[in-house]
């Protein structure tokens, strides 16, 4: 028989099974398009200023290839199960293994041509849009080619490899079956699933351990480290395996317990649902577990990345009491007032309009005496700065300070100050301002060990000199102190003025005019520049969260569709019989609803449980990106969950119609 025959036959096969093959081809195409697009975001030819983004994207590309491979292999297995009878018929009609292999080869070739070809075309079309979205989210301009040859080749290679593996799996699968088995497969002879206590218990143990890590670990954590990320992934793996075990064994075991409870089981509603569910669970557990895990992945990714992005501005403001924060220091005595005045004048001359100007001087001193036990960091602020920040005159006599520290006196090295007034660390505007300006918000550094001291500028300079020689060589005593007394001028700019440009002008002036003796320090920063940096990071993460979230959601939706259709076919006959035996339409509908509802909302509810359990640990991991706002994360989590529930329900309702059409009269 000629190749044309097989090509025709393969084409007919795909057409005849279009109810299953169209979604499958769409999946292949969607996965290929998604993969291509993700690959382009990591391509060197792409983004003008790639930075970290490229590395993250590349890593995700690898992960996505694995996920796509697994997912396609699974859906293909599902498809082949539906086609058992068809292959049986071919075997009876005389197609031997070699013939069947050729048929499968043609089918694979067609799938590759349509699926991968279509996917690449779609990918190229949508890629521009996607890259523009990425550019928008990361706040950069996008310049790049329309078609990425390297990515096209990579995508084609990866998907041809995946389809090749699937082809091999199918050849083995068809070769192993006997024609007689093939003829009845997909119909009856479905054994009742066994209850597997052991696996169910293992599932509970795995899930419990995973939850335990996610909930218990944050309490044990100091600051977030690499280890915690490893712990997180360990918890993720435990929960994935636990979910599989629990869905595979736990549900059936639980339902069988219900069946043994005769008073419950022999009621019209429960009778049909419980027995139906036992069978459904037996064959669908893996699919439901996958839906659950995909859903959880979507929920966690989207909620955390949305949270990061939404928290960007307030996070930024936390470190920027003013838009531009100039901060300089040098080893030699200089007229800093004059220098900074000149710098501000220069900025005004360049067309900038600084407002809400704050001028201050600060210095940091900390010591650790193992005979006193506690380390203390003192942040000294000069009186003029205090006045700028609070609008109150500090009114300090020589030897007097204002401080957040308790006590009537404050001793620093050999100098003892009288405390003229106590400042409230949470309420005093200067304390609040300095906490933000110095980035002291890290909760681990808060509390007793950080104190603000308002002192005379000369006293601060004297302390710095004293610190250089104090107790050098004492093994019990160590101290750390700022090398420089820092001189700052902070100000806002009207909306639209370039903060980084303005800082540039000021820097230039200071660089040109300072004494150029000894070392010099520049700790200046501006909100525009920092915002841009953070946008690249958070925007890329948000992009990934949304992109992978959409892809996974599509996968879950596809699985749901497949389930509805295959179950519709199975249940059609079952309900026809029950109608004849005297089941009325109301009971049919109720029973259908309760089963389907449970089957489809079980993964969703489980996913919500996983998400809730993951919350504490994910919240801690977000600290890596300086996200400390638990309230915002909770809001994002709840919002994401709600949005996801809506989409999930919509997918369910749409596919449920297919099911209703199949079982309806």
């Amino acid at each position: 028989m000629g190749e044309r025959f097989y090509a025709r036959l393969a084409w007919d096969c795909l057409r005849k099974n279009s109810r299953f093959y169209v979604p499958y081809l769409l999946t292949v195409a969607g996965a290929a398009a998604g993969f291509y697009m993700l690959a382009t975001t990591g391509d060197p030819a792409g983004m003008a200023d790639p930075g970290d983004v490229r590395a993250i994207m590349r890593m995700c590309t690898v992960v996505l290839a694995l996920v796509c491979g697994g997912f396609l292999l699974y859906t293909n297995g599902f498809l082949m199960k539906q086609r058992g009878r068809e292959f049986g018929l071919y075997a009876v009609l005389g197609l031997d293994r070699a013939n069947m292999t050729r048929l499968l080869a043609w089918e694979t070739a067609l799938t590759a041509a349509i699926g991968v070809g279509g996917g690449l075309a779609g990918g190229v079309l949508l890629d521009r849009l996607l890259l523009l979205t990425l550019a928008k989210l990361t706040g950069r301009t996008y310049l790049g080619p329309v078609i990425y040859g390297r990515c096209l080749a990579l995508t084609a290679g990866v998907f041809l490899l995946i389809l090749g593996l699937i082809f091999a799996a199918n050849v083995v699968r068809v070769g192993r079956m006997r024609p007689s088995d093939l003829l009845i497969s997909g119909n009856v002879g479905d054994k009742e699933p066994k209850s597997r206590w052991f696996i169910a218990l293992v599932g509970i143990a795995l899930l419990g351990t995973g939850y335990g890590i996610a909930i218990g670990r944050p309490a044990l954590m100091g600051s977030v480290t690499q280890d915690d990320i490893l712990w997180f992934f360990a918890a993720v793996l435990l929960v994935i395996f636990g979910t599989f075990a629990l869905f595979l064994a736990g549900t059936v075991t639980g339902l069988k317990l219900l069946r043994r409870w005769k008073g419950y089981y022999y009621k019209a509603r429960h009778f049909i649902s419980v027995s139906g569910l036992i069978h459904r669970m037996g064959r669908n557990a893996a699919g439901l577990a996958i839906i659950c895990i995909l859903s959880t992945a979507v929920l966690v990714m989207v909620s955390s990345t949305v949270c990061l992005r939404m928290g960007l501005e307030s996070h930024l403001r936390g470190y920027f009491p003013r838009d531009v924060m100039c901060e300089f220091g040098s080893m030699v005595e200089e007229d800093w007032d004059g220098l900074l005045d000149g710098a501000l004048e220069e900025a005004r001359a360049a067309g900038y309009h600084p407002e809400s100007v704050v001028r201050y001087t600060w210095w940091e001193y900390g010591w650790d005496d193992d005979r006193v036990v506690n380390a203390v960091n003192l942040y000294f602020l000069d009186g003029a700065g205090y006045e700028d920040m609070t609008g109150r005159h500090a009114d300090l006599a020589p030897g007097q300070v204002l401080t957040t520290a308790p006590g009537d006196t404050l001793t620093v090295m050999d100098t003892t100050f009288t405390v003229a007034g106590h400042l409230d660390r949470d309420d005093d505007p200067a304390a609040v301002y300095m906490t933000r300006a110095l980035g002291l918000e890290d909760p681990l550094l808060q509390g007793e060990h950080q104190q603000l001291v308002v002192a005379d500028a000369d006293a601060i300079a004297a302390l710095r000199l004293e610190a250089e020689n104090y107790r050098a060589g004492d093994p019990h005593y160590s101290c750390g102190f700022g090398t420089f007394v820092m001189h700052c001028v902070d100000f806002d700019l009207p909306a639209g003025e370039d903060t980084h440009g303005c800082l540039g002008v000021i820097r230039q002036y200071v660089y040109d005019n300072h004494a150029h003796e000894g070392s010099f320090a520049d700790g200046s920063k501006d909100i525009g520049q920092t915002r841009g940096d953070l946008l690249v990071e958070y925007g890329s993460l948000l992009f990934l969260g949304l992109f992978l979230g959409t892809l996974f959601l599509g996968g879950a939706a596809l699985l749901i569709y497949y389930k509805q259709v295959s179950e519709g076919y199975e249940d059609r006959q079952r309900f026809a019989v029950m109608r004849k035996v005297g089941m009325d339409e109301v009971l049919v509908r109720r029973s259908v609803h309760s089963q389907i509802l449970l089957v489809f909302f079980l993964p969703l509810v489980t996913a919500f449980c996983h998400m809730a359990a993951a919350f504490p640990l994910v919240a801690r991991l977000l600290e890596i990106w300086d996200m400390l706002d638990r309230g915002l994360f909770l809001l994002c989590t709840v919002g994401t969950a709600a949005a996801f529930a809506v989409v999930y329900t919509a997918v369910y309702l749409l596919t449920a119609r297919v099911y209703a059409r199949l079982v309806g009269r």
């Binding site: 009856v188 002879g189 479905d190 054994k191 009742e192 005769k262 008073g263 022999y266 009621k267 019209a268 009778f271 027995s275 139906g276 036992i278 069978h279 079952r574 019989v577 029950m578 109608r579 004849k580 035996v581 005297g582 089941m583 009325d584 339409e585 109301v586 009971l587």
Partner: protein
């Protein structure tokens, strides 16, 4: 009064787009006394399955009426039909139609559970019935684990569990080998001997020869009927064959 009365029953199928109408039944009347065992015979397409479906209230007649124990099924609203069917009719199908999600016990109990009967009643009725049908040993097995004959016995048990006034059998031996067929027919005989009214649609002369009366359907009308009377099964078999020959010949003669 007759248990089942069928009066001038007509059924016309019209295709959805108003194309050609198919007259499946063009006026069938007969009645069935309590305790009778009647068979309906006819070629494929003669309308016998339609007749059974209408009698079973699975299908509504175009004209005419069906009275079961004096009640007109057309009077019953759709939502009461299911309950009516459950309480008064038992079904035995050619393809057994056992549910693969239930074991034998639960398949048999299905009508009882749907009817909301108590568990005590189930425990009373089931063991006796299962013993009578010889399926007590397989109650815990699943349909895929038992033979065709056992499946059909299970189906009969399901049909009888609520003690319906009429058992309808649609080609009950159609999917069985000859030994299993003999067993099933003997079973129907004994069920009938216990006073149960049975209406069976069949192709098989042998199956029909177990009945006390055979109705022949041709082209949607009642063509002929035979009473077994005092004949033994062999003689009755011969008479049925003769009528079938005439039935087939009648067509070739025009």
């Amino acid at each position: 009064m007759a248990l089942l009365e069928v009066e001038d029953l007509q059924k016309t199928y019209t295709s959805r787009f108003g194309g050609q109408a198919v007259h499946a039944l063009t006026g069938v009347s007969f009645s069935l006394e309590e305790g009778e065992f009647a068979a309906v015979m006819g070629e494929s397409g003669s309308g016998k399955t339609t007749l059974l479906n209408v009698v079973a209230s699975l299908d509504r007649p175009t004209a005419g009426r069906v009275l079961l124990a004096g009640r007109d099924m057309a009077d019953l609203p759709e939502r009461e039909l299911a309950a009516f069917r459950r309480d008064n009719l038992g079904f035995v199908f050619q393809e057994f139609n056992l549910l693969d999600t239930f074991n034998v016990r639960d398949n048999i109990l299905l009508p009882m559970v749907l009817a909301g009967r108590s568990r005590r009643e189930m425990d009373q009725v089931l063991p006796e019935l299962a013993a009578r049908l010889g399926i007590r040993e397989i109650l815990d097995k699943y349909p895929y684990e038992i033979s065709g004959g056992q499946k059909q016995r299970t189906a009969v048990a399901r049909a009888l569990i609520l003690s319906p006034c009429l058992v309808l059998a649609d080609e009950p031996t159609g999917a069985l080998d000859s030994r299993s067929s003999d067993g099933l027919l003997a079973l129907l005989d004994s069920v009938n001997a216990g006073g149960q009214t049975v209406l069976m649609v069949t192709h098989s002369v042998k199956a029909a020869s177990h009945a006390g009366r055979v109705l022949f359907i041709k082209d949607g009308t009642l063509y002929h009927q035979l009473y077994r009377g005092e004949d033994d099964q062999g003689r009755f078999y011969g008479r049925i064959s003769d009528v079938l020959t005439a039935l087939a010949g009648g067509r070739s003669d025009g």
